[in-house]
């Protein structure tokens, strides 16, 4: 065991030294894989571990099943706690047979108490799970990509790719560069420029498609049917989506091995919210937490709300929509996991709701001004939906609430730049400063002079 290294997981694991990546000694080897098989979520048919994602009988998604009895017997919670603060501290519950090939520092992002936001929302106990600072590309997608590309390596793929609304593109491009893969990334042509640049900079081949995400995804599916590439959210989806579970494990551990009473999660394809639920359930199954009884609340933008519309109507069946919203990262009109997301939300006792683009911007600003956290548009959706649900009496403000912040505001600056008042330019003279800036409300430049100045009061008044 290399002492003091980044991956000093513990003496019970064999050391792997990968000759092609000098310096990357990773204690992760030996008999540490607890993967049992893949299982169809609908008909229950099982498959061996291969790069497949859909059942050949009913087309439903395949789920990774683990040997939980062995994990319970062999991995005490204290072992997890002793490991470095990355998503890989939960590695027995992830579908890799070997050490992660990429994303070795990903995860374990902060869970932040948010008292000022709580006050603005009229809630007692609010936390922010902040994947806006995830590594390496500032979104929760870094988790799923770390798993998917590491699995791609195990399967022997040399070319990888994805269809994406932006954050996934960024993460695949970055981690594929680090992992030495050839990369094709398919995106709608009208994505935010920040997300396009944050993909191209890593040298990936960016394929801009005239169409919405659902059309891009269809093309990507056709590509994956023809070429033996590892498409992270297509033929590697069963493994990729497992990475989202670490978002849930971390919340539970950071709360002292308990789950929140409520969680609000933004939804695009619907996978993340179902995987957080799976994570909490696994922790209960392993005896690492007492009871997983969280109510799940799904959040979408009104301009693309197929899952929340279904949940609000009390059904699991998804009617596809044509997206029309500035929240491009959630603009999936035909969500692959929508059925399971709606089902799980309703079974948990939660619900779903959506907010207008204007409310999304308010949500971004409220979060920034109360907690100093600049989230991308999906974060604005989460905050605004939480506020709406509390006001409607559907989310209990006296219970603990976690808000899932899944991406960084620096990637969607265009959504808010037009909302912020330009600062006046003055000469370097004290009198001008005092005249222009001290005679206006304290948060000068952030608010029109006619608004309430305190963001908490303002939020309550809206």
């Amino acid at each position: 065991m290399r002492s003091g290294g980044l991956f000093s997981f513990g003496a019970s694991f064999d050391k792997i030294i990968n000759p092609s990546r000098p310096g990357c000694e990773i204690a992760y080897g030996g008999d540490v894989s607890y993967i049992a098989h893949l299982k169809c979520r609908q008909c229950g048919r099982t498959y061996k571990i291969e790069p497949i994602a859909a059942c050949e009988e009913c087309w439903a998604p395949l789920e990774v099943v683990y040997d939980y009895d062995r994990i319970r017997a062999e991995v005490p919670r204290q072992t997890v706690e002793s490991r470095p603060p990355t998503m890989w501290r939960y590695r027995e519950l992830l579908p890799l047979a070997n050490a992660p090939w990429v994303g070795r520092s990903t995860g374990f992002t902060p869970l932040l108490p948010a008292p000022r936001l709580a006050s603005a929302l009229g809630a007692r106990e609010v936390y922010l799970k902040n994947d806006a600072v995830n590594y390496p590309t500032l979104s929760f997608k870094d988790r799923v990509v770390a798993v998917a590309l590491s699995k791609a390596r195990e399967f022997g793929f040399e070319t990888v790719g994805c269809s994406s609304t932006g954050n996934l593109a960024n993460s695949v491009a970055a981690q594929a560069a680090a992992g030495g893969f050839k990369t094709f990334i398919f995106v709608p042509a009208d994505l935010e420029p920040e997300k396009l640049i944050n993909t191209r900079i890593y040298g990936a081949t960016l394929v801009k498609v005239r169409g919405n995400y659902d059309q891009v995804n269809r093309l990507c599916s056709e590509v994956s049917q023809k070429y033996a590439w590892g498409m992270v959210n297509v033929n590697l989806r069963s493994y990729y989506s497992e990475g989202s579970k670490t978002f849930g494990y971390e919340i539970a551990e950071q709360l002292g091995w308990r789950v929140p009473q409520n969680i609000v999660v933004p939804m695009a394809g619907g996978s993340l919210i179902t995987k957080i639920n799976k994570a909490f359930g696994e922790l209960q199954k392993l005896g690492w937490i007492e009871l997983a009884a969280t109510k799940f609340f799904g959040a979408q933008a009104t301009g693309c709300s197929p899952i929340t519309t279904a949940a609000r109507n009390g059904t699991y069946e998804i009617t596809p929509q044509k997206p029309n919203t500035l929240v491009k990262s959630l603009a999936i009109g035909n969500p692959a996991d929508g059925f399971y997301a709606a089902k799980m939300i309703l079974e948990s006792g939660g619900t779903g709701d959506d907010v207008s683009d204007a409310e999304v911007v308010e949500g971004i600003r409220l979060l920034a001004e109360t907690e100093g956290l600049f989230a991308e548009t999906a974060g604005g959706v989460t905050v605004a939906v939480a506020r709406k649900l509390i006001r409607l009496g559907r989310l209990n403000p006296k219970e603990s609430i976690v808000l899932a912040i899944t991406g960084n505001g620096l990637k969607t600056v265009g959504a808010v730049s037009g909302e912020l008042k330009e600062a006046e330019v003055i000469r370097p003279r004290l009198a001008e400063f005092e005249e222009l800036y001290l005679n206006v409300p304290a948060a000068a430049g952030a608010w029109p002079a006619t608004s309430l100045t305190d963001p908490i009061s303002r939020a309550r008044a809206l």
């Binding site: 497949i52 994602a53 059942c55 399967f155 022997g156 990507c220 599916s221 070429y227």
Partner: protein, 105 residues
């Protein structure tokens, strides 16, 4: 002129390996029926007994999801290209072809 149905790899075990099939079906229900007549057994992996497409199978006509065209009510036009795409594609990696010059697998 007939319409063309593109068959995804997991279904080609029913079509003797054919990746495209031509039919003169007028609508979705007829399409399922004609396919099952030509390739017995295929219908059960396309739709339920009442002809509703399976939940996780997406059907496109040219570039559009058939649900935006009226679903089962849509009347196929001459030359339409019908794509059957699993909502979550996959399961073909061992059988997929390689692009020229690509060194994969």
């Amino acid at each position: 002129m007939p319409i063309t149905i593109h068959i995804p790899p997991p279904l080609r075990k029913y079509t003797n390996g054919a990746d495209a099939v031509e039919t003169t079906a007028g609508n979705l229900n007829e399409l399922f029926g004609e396919l099952d007549q030509k390739f017995p057994g295929i219908k059960k992996v396309l739709c339920t007994e009442d002809g509703t497409p399976l939940r996780f199978l997406n059907i496109y006509v040219n570039d559009e999801d058939i649900r935006f065209l009226g679903g089962a009510q849509y009347n196929f036009q001459d030359g339409d290209e019908v794509l059957l795409i699993p909502a979550i594609a996959g399961g073909v990696s061992q059988r997929a072809s390689q692009p020229p010059g690509d060194g994969n697998r």
